[in-house]
């Protein structure tokens, strides 16, 4: 092996390590939904290239209202699906769309766009 080959190999493997760490190993801790006077646990979620924040922490047994605002036109994100709750909502660009859920059991529930490219998590405690 010539030195340039060693260099390319090491750089490549380093890059692979970075990809694994960046996409798979690091996870966000999440944001706790605020409780409003009406008894809802509310959170705003921005839809642009992903969900911001993408991890929402709520308490079980209390209704949750997630207010989505989509600020892009990519067709992937035109819908958000809560598969575990059998709920979905259309997200027209620029409009605020509320999704209401009642998490009964603690656990981690994913939400995503129909193609699964955007993902978020609802952590129920």
């Amino acid at each position: 092996m010539t030195p340039d080959r060693w260099l390319v190999t090491l750089l490549g493997l380093g890059l692979i390590g970075f990809i694994v760490w960046f996409f798979w190993l690091k996870r966000s801790t999440g944001q706790r939904a605020a409780e409003t006077s009406s008894g809802y646990q509310e959170a705003m979620i921005l839809v642009k290239g992903g969900y911001t924040p993408d991890t929402i922490v709520v308490r079980a047994g209390k209704p949750v209202r997630l207010n989505f605002r989509r600020e892009e036109t990519a067709s992937c994100s035109e819908k958000v699906i809560f598969a575990d709750f059998n709920k979905s909502a259309d997200l027209p660009t620029g409009q605020l769309v509320s999704v209401e859920l009642l998490p009964k059991q603690p656990g981690e529930f994913g939400f995503a766009c129909p193609m699964g490219m955007f993902r978020g998590r609802l952590i129920v405690e």
Binding site: I19, G50, T52, E72, T73, K79, P92, G110, M115, M117
Partner: protein, 846 residues
């Protein structure tokens, strides 16, 4: 106009107002919850207590309070509060109006104040979170237009369109899709136009003339190539902009998608070319200093074209829901204050009297008050024959009135109508996931980073062990691998087919609740049919009349029916209906008497008529021996025969039975043909059950099942290892429906939102079960084709792109071909899903 203090009170154009001296105003308020004669006085008393009220009259029959009041001292809202305080409800309309320019918290108050001063407004609540105001108002007193102008007077703009679930929601979305498509096509044409000269001039060695004009290593070639690089840049920056923004947005969320792959691929190709032109001396040999501008531009052009075609194709997948939304009536002719007014359909409130003329669309759900007509309900139920409607019948909003004029009372409006429920259910179902999708989701979560890793591994392998020029091969392989991978095809495979399949169901009057229900329906091997209301009509009808001697059948029936005319017993009603159907003139019975547990007696046209069981006849000394064989025959057929005695002699028999729906037999045969075991479940005795089962062709019968044991019977079959579908009505059979793997609820008319069911058949026919299973089979088959295609494409394409074939066959994929393959793989998936649009339910004859 927003100045407080002495500003004139805003006047609503439609409302009666008192411009000068305080003059009594009159209003009619609809009061709900008044069930008994002592209710109106309570409401009247409560209203009289309101300051400024001069005269009150509450009518129980109309359910309306007529109130005269001094608008200077009392507002309509006070009256409403008065009614509510007395324990009754006041019918008001609620609406949400979005505001375009609500920026500060003081806006909330100004909007609420502006609306609060409008006559007829009961409550206004604005919220800066939703950027909308929720208004409760009395529809007799104001209109939506008046509310909007009140908001405008307060200095705000109403955002159009209104955020209402249902009707208008899709239109802006469609517009956005069209704009997106047009933009992508512009980007494509630009990229394509640049690609042509870029491609030609990138391979001068292949074209004679060019080869001589710009030989390898010459300054001309370098200059031309540098120019091409400049020319290609706008293709990347503009036509390919969505790849970079998409990659960046995803990276911020530690995610990667198709955009990431394409962006890295085209950038790698571009940067290599920049180095080759700017610093050719870095390369050991001249032929290595090649450019790949064409790769960047052609990939952008092809992938952008693919995206555009995908948008077009995806638009077609939701055609069914667009059709449903298009069914909504726009206006309604309503009686308000005794006058006929045309209103936008959003303003119709429950309790309104709506007038429908021939050819009109029925605007909302309701109950027919007067008049009669034939109504075409095919758009909702899929039933093509118009349905006769008379007073008391239910009418469904968005169906088409054919022949007569009628008035009906609106019962469900806005988002509560059957159509709105159907739209919402279909949308939810289309957005739900089939279990099969979970696998795909797991894969696609790892897919893109995995492809990036594979591309890097391929680069290393080619650089370390590949043939010369290694750096060129390694770069080509890296770019090709990144570009050929198509996460979109994987992601699109299931949802597009589900959208089309569930939409197809809705077109045929079948509401499939979720992807789960669709996938489970396909796997059913046993179908349990509840007898009453499912196989049969669920109400008794006259089936046989036996008249052995002397009397004619019609005479026996006429006497029996005349006797039962006053009866409220369902069997009696069936006899009367049967006589009506034969157009017999019925008389009133004199001396009518019911003999509990035995029958009825009375005198008609100088005849003493008896109707009842054998014991009644024997008690009255009537010899019925001759009729007994016929009685037994009818009883064995599962019918309920009754003796008729005339003037102390045996007159004949009338038999009543729950009759089988006309298409039950055909549907059961079709279910069997689909390979399903059909089981009938009923509370009837064995004899009746067997008779019906034989008539419709069911082999297995579970008779004498108590209603509460139905779910248990379903479970028993499931324990036999069967995937069980249960068909029944949504109310009595709810536990059994939810116990079954798939619950099919037979619904009729407007109660479509049957909770316990996985599938709702709007048209009360068993054929719907057949169609639902056929749709599920077609859709799941389509999903599997898509998944096999998408997985297969990636599983085969990626290794080929990595150069796995090269050591054996010397074949290496061009990045240009990879781009074409990638662009068209996702279009193919969507197009395949669209094939489902041509699904036609089989129309089976016997």
């Amino acid at each position: 106009m927003t100045a407080p203090g002495h500003a004139a009170r805003p006047q609503v154009p439609h409302a009666k107002s008192a411009p000068v001296a305080p003059k009594a105003q009159h209003i009619e308020l609809r009061v709900g919850g008044m069930t008994c004669p002592h209710c109106p006085p309570r409401v009247e008393e409560a209203l009289r207590k309101v300051d400024g009220v001069s005269h009150v009259h509450v009518s129980l029959a109309e359910g309306i309070a007529h109130v005269s009041f001094d608008p200077g001292r009392a507002a309509v809202a006070d009256l409403i509060r008065g009614i509510r305080g007395s324990g009754y409800s006041a019918a008001t309309a609620k609406t949400r109006i979005p505001i375009a320019n609500m920026h500060c918290s003081s806006c909330v108050m100004r909007i609420e104040l502006g609306l609060g001063m409008t006559p007829g407004v009961v409550k206004a609540e604005a919220s800066s979170l939703t950027n909308a105001v929720d208004v409760e108002y009395v529809p007799e007193k104001t209109t939506l237009a008046a509310l909007k102008s009140a908001i405008e007077r307060a200095g705000y703009r109403v955002a159009e369109p209104r955020i209402e679930p249902g009707a208008e929601a899709l239109e802006p979305e469609e517009l956005a899709q069209q704009q997106e498509y047009a933009l992508l096509m512009r980007k494509f044409w630009f990229a394509a136009a640049i690609s042509v000269p870029v491609m030609a001039l990138s391979y001068p060695d292949l074209i004679s003339g060019l080869r001589e004009w710009m030989p390898m290593g010459s300054d001309t070639r370098r200059a031309v190539w540098a120019l091409l690089g400049v020319l290609s840049l706008p293709v990347l920056v503009w036509s390919g902009s969505q790849f970079y923004t998409g990659m960046w947005d995803a990276l911020k969320h530690r995610a990667a998608n198709m955009h990431t792959l394409i962006a890295i691929g085209i950038t790698a190709a571009y940067l290599y070319s920049v180095v080759a032109v700017a610093m050719p001396e870095l390369f050991p040999r001249m032929e290595l200093a090649e450019v790949f501008w064409d790769v960047s531009t052609v990939v952008v052009a092809l992938v952008v074209l693919g995206l555009a075609l995908e948008i077009k194709a995806k638009g077609r997948t939701s055609e069914a829901i667009k059709k449903l939304i298009g069914l909504q009536a726009k206006t309604a002719r309503v009686l308000r204050d005794g006058k006929e007014v045309d209103l936008p359909v959003e303003e119709v409130v429950a309790g309104d009297t709506v007038i429908v003329r021939p050819g009109d669309k029925i605007p909302v759900d309701g109950e027919l008050l007067e008049g009669s007509s034939a109504v075409d309900e095919s758009m909702i139920t899929g039933e093509s024959i118009p349905v006769e409607k008379r007073a008391g019948d239910e009418v469904i909003g968005s169906t088409l009135n054919k022949t007569g004029s009628f008035k009906f009372r609106a019962t469900k409006v806005g988002k509560d109508t059957a159509l709105a429920n159907i739209i919402r259910m279909v949308k939810d179902a289309q957005g739900s996931k089939a279990p099969i999708q979970r696998v795909v989701d797991t894969v696609s979560g790892y897919f893109v980073p995995a492809v990036m890793i594979l591309a890097i591994l391929a680069f290393i392998a080619w650089y370390d062990f590949g043939p010369e020029p290694r750096i060129v091969f390694a770069t080509i392989v890296l770019v090709t691998t990144l570009i050929i991978a198509c996460p979109c095809a994987l992601g699109l495979a299931t949802p597009t087919s589900l959208t089309v399949g569930i939409g197809k169901g809705a077109e045929n009057g079948i509401l499939i609740r979720s992807g789960d229900a669709l996938q489970s329906s396909e796997k059913l091997d046993t179908v349990i049919l509840d007898k009453t209301g499912t196989i049969t009509r669920g109400e008794p009808a006259l089936t046989d009349v036996v008249a052995p001697k002397a009397q004619s059948e019609d005479e026996v029936l006429r006497l029996a029916a005349s006797l039962e005319r006053g009866s409220e017993h369902p069997l009696g009603e069936a006899i009367v209906k049967g006589a009506d159907a034969r157009k017999l003139a019925l008389k009133d019975a004199k001396g009518f008497a019911a003999i509990p547990g035995h029958g009825v007696s009375g005198r008609i046209d100088d005849h003493d008529v008896l109707l009842g069981n054998a014991k009644l006849m024997r008690d009255r000394g009537i010899a019925i021996e001759n009729l007994v064989p016929d009685w037994e025959r009818l009883a064995n057929e599962g019918k309920t025969p009754m003796f008729v005695g005339i003037d102390g002699k045996p007159g004949g028999l009338v038999a009543v039975a729950d009759t089988v729906k006309p298409d039950s037999k055909v549907a059961i045969a079709a279910l069997k043909r689909l390979g399903l075991e059909v089981v009938m479940l009923t509370g009837d005795n064995q004899r009746t059950a067997k008779a019906i089962a034989a008539e419709v062709g069911v082999d297995r019968v579970l008779a004498e099942v108590l209603p509460e044991d139905k779910a248990h019977e379903v479970q028993k079959l499931q324990l036999e290892g069967k995937a069980v579908g249960m068909v029944g009505d949504g109310i009595n059979d709810a536990p059994a429906l939810s116990q079954a793997d798939v619950g099919f609820a037979i619904g009729t008319g407007t109660d479509v939102a049957i909770e316990a069911s996985d599938v709702t058949l709007i048209k009360g026919s068993l054929m719907g079960v057949v169609t639902a299973i056929e749709i599920s089979k077609a859709t799941m088959g389509n999903v599997r084709q898509n998944l096999v295609g998408a997985f297969g494409y990636n599983v085969l394409g990626i290794p080929v792109a990595m150069g796995l074939l090269y050591p054996f066959f010397g074949v290496l994929l061009s990045p240009l071909i990879a781009a074409a393959a990638m662009a068209f793989s996702s279009v193919t998936v969507v197009t395949n899903a669209n094939r489902l649009r041509f699904f036609e339910p089989r129309r089976l004859s016997s």
